[in-house]
Amino acid sequence: MATSAPLPPVPGAHSSTDTVAAKLKRKLVSLIQPTVLLGPAGIWLFLLLVVPTLMILELSLIPGFRPGEPAGAYGLGNYTKIFELIDGQPIYLWVIARSVLFSVGSMLICLFLGFPVAYWIAIMAPKRWQNLLLVSFVLPLWTSSLLRSYAWITILRPTGVLNSLLGVFNLPPVDILNTQTAVMIGLAYNYLPYMVLILYSSLEKLDQRLLEAASDLGATPQQGFWKVTVPQTLPGIAAGCLLVFITNLGDFVVPELLGGASSMTMARLVYNQFLGATRNWGFGSGLSMVLILGVSIAIALLLKYGDQKAEDF
């Protein structure tokens, strides 16, 4: 009878099993909670980012891989091809350099045009107008970036809007369309709103009392700007620049439409390898991996650098 009947609870034992159970439960929860919270996004990222990247990595290691053809042996041919000389010129390196030049140029234009605007909206404009101003600045994003780029053709072409305007003021016409300048203008125009948004959110958080403190310590408004405003918003500036740089690097429409006959960029080169005449997916993957690596390094630098600064706030 004693064996089959449930044992009467022994007070001490009961409480001790209780705490063990509670501990186990807590431990379980602490294990499950992150899984539940991170699971959906994790699976999403794994399937749509990690797996495809690994696939591209594999393709990049099969020299000259083309879909529908038997894959060759693994090798680094796709990567060494990037350094290939054609007519004594490292053509693919030039393409990469040009892409970086376009991206950096556009990034700088965005920064120099965007900072004053963001500064004005965040600090000088009346508070109740801020949201309206921001929305109006972001409004161009509602149209396709392609349409906006076509609009730039209309503006920059020899008898376009720009030259008509210059004519009104008796100024000599400029021939910008189909130059690298046009590409940077077009790219900058497309990504300026993002830069303004990021800089705004950074400037808006800027503690105005710090500027008063600087002024109190003898800093003129200019000195205050360079010694306080800029360092304080540096993480925002870095984030904005990086975003513009990375997105510019992947844009091939603007260089193609505004850049003239010598406008081959990395993005277009990758596109050509995948969906163009050669269908050299292997080389395309190799180029993609280089692009991914470059962007990753840039982000890593930002995280490291941004972190150092951010922890002080």
Binding site: E212, L217, A219, D312
Partner: protein, 380 residues
């Protein structure tokens, strides 16, 4: 200007020359008048406090001196020079901000060196002065830290060092201890006072804490609704408040509103709205004639409590005890008089150990313990 600052630090001038003067200063923000005609003279080397409840205009007054605000009317002078149109960065004053406003992107050392670098001091001077300032606030070992790695009290010291290192004519302190807990506040009060004595620089402190103002200041300006109600030493302010507001705001007091019934034998007889008759000695400021409206202020510690009716009937009223609070050295009573007035009484705790809640009791005070005050603020 730099010379003025440099000259200032060692000199402790004792004459009554003013470091800061405000002449009939007004400040209007978006149609709201924050400061309504202030006249102040802050003497060289003194520890001057501007005391008042929040919204009284005290911080605005400080910002007018610092130059973050320009007066709508009137004039601010520092060392006799008009500051009209002089931006903050050209004024020989430095501020310790309420929230410290330390630069998060700079180390403690760089924060303190900020002002010196702006003034393009030599490297060796900066090295020496920053070192001294750090030592002064006992933060020598924290030079390489960032502000976010410091506690509130430590940040406060750095803010202080950052202001003092520039050797300003006047140091402005905006609620400098407001964000600290009680114990730390007490400690910092002592340090602030010591620093002031050591340096001899003029301190102008804004605070809403009357105890802090009373314990630290050489003189205090009590502000209310954009005006200065009274300027005086802590004891003047406490013992001889000029207005009911000052009497009420500084320490605790009982206010009886009424009018002068008669003046007789050097005593005013004041009848309150509740029908109490109070005898009080007129003062130079308040020696009103019959039917003038007045307020009589009686400090709680001046009032006696007895269970039996006392011999003297002067200012003696019957009441019931409705609340007792034991405060260690003192006991705090709230007594409801038959007239309905509630009176606060403070007694040393060894007296009248057991006052029961039901029994009738009597309170009384001497005619010289009350202070008659006019209800209107003094006109300028």
């Amino acid at each position: 200007m730099a010379q003025t600052i440099a000259k200032n630090l060692p000199t402790v001038e004792t004459d009554t020359k003013y470091d800061v003067e405000l002449h009939n200063v007004f400040k209007v923000y978006n149609g709201e008048t924050a400061v309504r005609g202030i006249d102040l003279g802050i003497r060289q080397g003194e520890f001057f406090s501007i005391l008042g409840p929040s919204g009284c205009g005290k911080t605005t007054t400080l910002r007018l001196i610092a130059g973050f605000e320009e007066p709508s009317a009137g004039e601010v002078l520092v060392r006799g020079k008009s500051m009209v149109g002089v931006p903050p960065y050209r004024r020989p004053v430095n501020t310790v901000f309420q929230s410290y406003a330390l630069f998060g992107h700079l180390t403690v050392w760089d924060n303190i060196a900020f002002g010196l670098r702006i003034k393009q001091k030599s490297k060796s001077d900066i090295q020496r002065l920053v070192g001294e300032a750090l030592h002064l606030v006992k933060m020598d070992s924290f030079a390489r830290r960032y502000p976010a790695q410091l506690s509130g009290g430590q940040q406060q010291r750095i803010a202080l060092a950052r202001a003092l290192v520039n050797q300003p004519t006047v140091v402005l302190l905006d609620e400098p201890l407001g964000a600290l807990d009680l114990k730390l506040r007490k400690e910092m009060q002592v340090e602030l006072s010591t620093l002031h004595k050591e340096l001899g620089v003029t301190f102008v402190m804004v605070t809403h804490d009357q105890e802090e103002a009373l314990s630290l200041s050489d003189r205090i300006a009590v502000m209310n609704e954009g005006r200065v109600e009274q300027i005086g030493t802590p004891s003047e302010i406490y013992d001889f408040p000029k207005t009911p507001f000052v009497a009420d705001f500084i320490g605790e007091t009982n206010l009886f509103e009424g009018y002068v019934e008669s003046v007789d034998a050097g005593l005013m007889k004041v009848t309150t709205q509740q029908g109490l008759s109070i005898l009080v000695k007129p003062t130079a400021a308040c020696n009103g004639s019959t039917s003038d409206p007045v307020v009589v202020s009686v400090r709680p510690e001046k009032i006696q409590v007895t269970l039996d009716a006392p011999g003297s009937r002067i200012n003696c009223f019957e009441g019931r005890l409705i609340h007792t609070m034991f405060l260690g050295t003192h006991v705090h009573y709230v007594v409801q008089l038959l007239s309905g007035d509630r009176v606060t009484v403070m007694q040393p705790s060894h007296v009248n150990g057991s006052v029961s809640a039901e029994a009738p009791l009597y309170i009384h005070w001497a005619a010289t313990d009350g202070l008659p005050l006019f209800t209107q603020p003094p006109s300028h």
